[in-house]
């Protein structure tokens, strides 16, 4: 909450839940998102075919053995999220309406998955998302237009112009990023205490 006003653009993430009205299901997870997939497979499974895309990159624990044991479906494992996203784009190209999409991982990963789906006409609200692991944010510098990833503090140094940016709660789905605004523009050098608030 920022003082004086409230923000409605910040996405609210939920726990993954099967949607049984579907013709097929695609589950995409990276890192600690593996745990969310394990929880999903504890639920009664839907009748339709399921494909799971998983990359262990960035995980605190090794979820792979548990996933291989639990996922009674087409499980595709990728060393990096980049490889996962490339395979995801190929999958989308031949998919049909009725596909339900679930994703879990960091905010950046989930919005990368959602952006790829958006290129095929999927609305971002129709991708179910569960945030896992870090709360780290991608931050868009409104001054130099660069993106700075994995920001865990209220104030971050812009990777493009070096300005100290205050990280607002205002979120752009198109960019998958929060707005960053120069924190000491009015009083140069007066930077408030930097705190880690998105661990």
């Amino acid at each position: 909450m920022e003082r004086g006003y409230w923000i409605r653009s910040k996405p609210v993430y939920t726990a993954l839940l099967w949607n049984d009205k579907a013709t097929a299901h695609a589950v995409l997870a990276a890192g600690d998102g593996g745990l969310a997939v394990l929880k999903l497979f504890q639920q009664a499974l839907p009748e339709q075919p399921i494909t799971v895309f998983y990359s262990p990159a960035g995980a605190d624990k090794d979820y792979l053995p548990a996933l291989q044991a639990a996922v009674d479906a087409d499980l595709r494992v990728f060393a990096t999220t980049a490889e996962l996203l490339a395979a995801w784009a190929d999958y989308l190209a031949t998919a049909r309406m009725g596909l339900r999409i679930y994703t879990a991982g960091t905010e950046k990963f989930m919005w990368d998955v959602t952006d790829a789906a958006a290129d095929f006409g999927i609305l971002n609200q129709d991708v179910m998302k569960e945030l896992t692991g870090s709360l780290a944010r991608s931050v868009y510098c409104v001054h130099c237009k660069s993106l700075t990833h994995e920001v865990t503090s209220n104030i971050a140094t812009c990777s493009g112009c070096g300005r100290q940016l205050f990280v607002r709660d205002h979120f752009s789905r198109r960019m998958g990023a929060y707005m960053g605004l120069m924190v000491d523009a009015e009083n140069p050098g007066e930077v408030p205490q930097i705190e880690e608030i998105y661990p």
């Binding site: 949607n19 009205k21 579907a22 049909r96 309406m97 095929f120 006409g121």
Partner: protein, 317 residues
């Protein structure tokens, strides 16, 4: 609300019970452009009462010289379509609303699946113009009872035969919604217009197959159902108005000179929503706009198509 005045330039019977009207600006100017899927509301000053019915524009949205509408003579009509068939002649001048689009094509769709039943073909006739102009990817499926009910089958054949599939029910040809919907690529939007049963079957099949709500579009113009007469009490203007059995609440309000906003007059757009303060009977909701919770609350009503079975209904108006 601003209105347009048009003159009937020609009338043509295109199929059983369907009459096609070509309208031009009454003052010889250009008509406003519109987007495919738009309708106009035609005001029909019948003796003793005024009807206002919505009709989809089927002409090319780029044609600023003419509007075209098709009017199906409703056997159980309260009078609107009969008025159009019997009273309106070449040269008649009519007041119409500006075009309103409650059935717009999604401009972010990757593919458009258009499903028409009977007279429900009309909005698609205009949308096809837009899709052809914009290079949009689409397919049209058009079902009708028999060849003599196929108002625009020939027009489609000439224009877009590769993209249109016709289904003649008298020859046993039926659309298979399940197979059709399962075969669509990601990013498809489906649009249905036609008889209530067809539209409901299409929508429920799409939902069951996991189509997201915003990919499913439908339009039906509901005629206000007839019922028992009752009395409207207006709390602000302190008026009492009788709603006759064959009149809608909205028509009764308008006939009494009450300024009640409206747009589609078919229970779809939400513009005419009124607040209910009380009744000694029960509300009969017929609209597609209010949520089930709103309907159950008894606090809101859409006077264009809904009514009440009661002695009186009090409105905050």
């Amino acid at each position: 609300m601003s209105q347009l005045q048009v003159k009937v330039a020609s009338i043509q019977d295109v199929s059983a019970g369907v009459r096609h009207f070509t309208l031009v600006d009454a003052h010889g100017g250009e008509l406003p452009a519109f987007s495919g899927g738009s309708h106009i509301v035609v005001t029909m000053p019948a003796p003793g009462r005024t009807y206002r019915n919505a009709y989809s524009l089927l002409s090319s949205p780029e044609d600023r010289a003419h509007y075209e509408i098709a009017v199906h003579r409703q056997p159980q009509s309260r009078g609107g379509s009969i008025y159009m068939h019997e009273e309106v002649k070449v040269g008649s001048v009519l007041d119409i609303s500006y075009p309103v689009n409650l059935f717009a094509l999604s401009r972010v769709a990757k593919h458009h699946l258009l499903i028409a039943g009977g007279i429900g073909i009309t909005p698609f006739m205009a949308q096809i113009h837009d899709l052809e102009r914009l290079g949009g990817d689409y397919s049209l499926h058009y079902g009708f009872r028999s060849r003599e009910h196929a108002a625009f089958a020939d027009a489609l054949k000439g224009r877009v035969s590769q993209r249109a599939v016709c289904y003649d029910e008298s020859l046993g040809q039926r659309m298979d919604f399940d197979a059709l919907l399962r075969a669509q690529p990601l990013g498809t939007h489906v649009y249905a217009c036609g008889p209530q049963g067809m539209v409901e079957a299409l929508v429920s099949t799409a939902r069951a197959l996991g189509w997201p709500e915003h990919h499913i579009h439908s339009e039906q113009f509901l005629a206000p159902p007839v019922g028992e007469p009752f009395t409207l009490k207006l709390s602000k203007s302190e008026l009492e108005i009788t709603v006759q059995g064959d009149m809608s609440m909205l028509e009764a309000l308008e006939a009494a000179g009450v300024d009640a906003p409206s747009l589609c007059r078919g229970g779809a757009c939400g513009r005419c929503e009124l607040e209910v303060l009380g009744t000694d009977g029960e509300l009969q909701h017929h609209d597609h706009y209010l949520s089930d919770a709103d309907k159950a609350s008894g606090r809101k009503i859409m006077p264009c198509v809904s009514r009440a079975k009661c002695g009186y209904l009090e409105l905050n108006l």
